[in-house]
Symmetry: C2
Subunit: 189 residues, 2 copies
């Protein structure tokens, strides 16, 4: 009996790949076992249950996304930082649709608090520094930006923007321009 060399990390990574290929809801322990040519029950030595697998994939995705965003916004400010943040976000969602879906997976509060999700919040606040917003406007802006980025990625992934000739890329730039203008409008002098 040759051992397959499984580990929570390898399973998580394979699960993330599976999510990108087939969708996050297709990520099952059965499918994963098939991929490693192993019996399903064997996975329970490495993962408590399928919930843990999904949670781990979600955490991986949040981590990756936060890393990409952090790299993108480093050394930028104002509209430049806003665009970099937004593009990093959207690019990740397009390149890794399954992982992006996973990143939206509902985590229990403790897990969420210890996840890279907090880095996302911090970075969003960071790019707003260039717009001189005071509380509670800053919180409002964080929510607005989060809504737009997430909403756009979501609708785009669902194919909602493929019905007309207008390129999605142009609408994206137009939207970011509008947001930038709106935020500049809110600046306290």
């Amino acid at each position: 009996m040759v051992r397959a060399g499984l580990s929570p990390e390898r399973l998580t990574l394979a699960g993330a790949e599976l999510a990108d290929e087939a969708g996050f809801d297709q990520v099952t322990l059965s499918a994963l076992a098939r991929r490693f040519d192993v019996k399903v029950a064997s996975l329970y030595s490495h993962l408590k249950n399928s919930q843990e697998l999904k949670t781990r994939i979600a955490l991986l995705a949040l981590e990756e996304l936060a890393d990409q965003v952090a790299y993108a916004v480093a050394g930028r400010a104002g509209k430049d930082a806003l665009m970099a943040f937004a593009n990093a976000y959207r690019d990740y969602a397009r390149a890794h649709p399954g992982r992006y879906e996973a990143a939206r997976f509902r985590l229990d509060p403790q897990t969420a608090a210890a996840s890279a999700g907090v880095r996302h919040a911090q970075m969003t606040r960071a790019i707003l520094r260039g717009y001189n917003l005071t509380e509670p406007d800053q919180t409002h802006a964080v929510r607005m930006l989060g809504s737009v980025f997430h909403g756009y990625a979501n609708l785009e992934a669902a194919g909602g923007f493929s019905h007309t000739d207008v390129a999605s890329q142009e609408s994206w730039v137009w939207t970011l321009d509008s947001l930038d203008a709106a935020l500049r409008n809110r600046a306290t002098p």
Copy 2:
């Protein structure tokens, strides 16, 4: 043997209620059969499969949502119409989280084209009349608004806005004010 009096319509409605109570992903034929105190196989006389049930719930939700939005925006224009549209949308998502989730269910192109989804698109364009946008700006604006509304409803439903003291309602109004300003900025004189 007393008959239960099932029908596709009753099953769809019960499925929508179940979705609101337990989440759209908890809507299964098994759960529905339990609710009607009937064997699962009996449902297959009324529905082709569980996919059809979900599709029907999605269509119901789209219809209801379009009706509410239509009622809300009737007789309004400009910012007034924008706010009414947005509030109708958000209110529906909050009052019927499961149905709202269902409304985002991926429909095949034919079904989508025959659904109330087209009314949504029409109404979004309608409220933009007050902002004097020319193509392709109008399409961009439709996408931006769709993203914000959907993104906000989604994040709010996920509990993403409950970590700070700032009330979600205030952020919502702030966001809509910003959008209105951004759109007025884009108007062709």
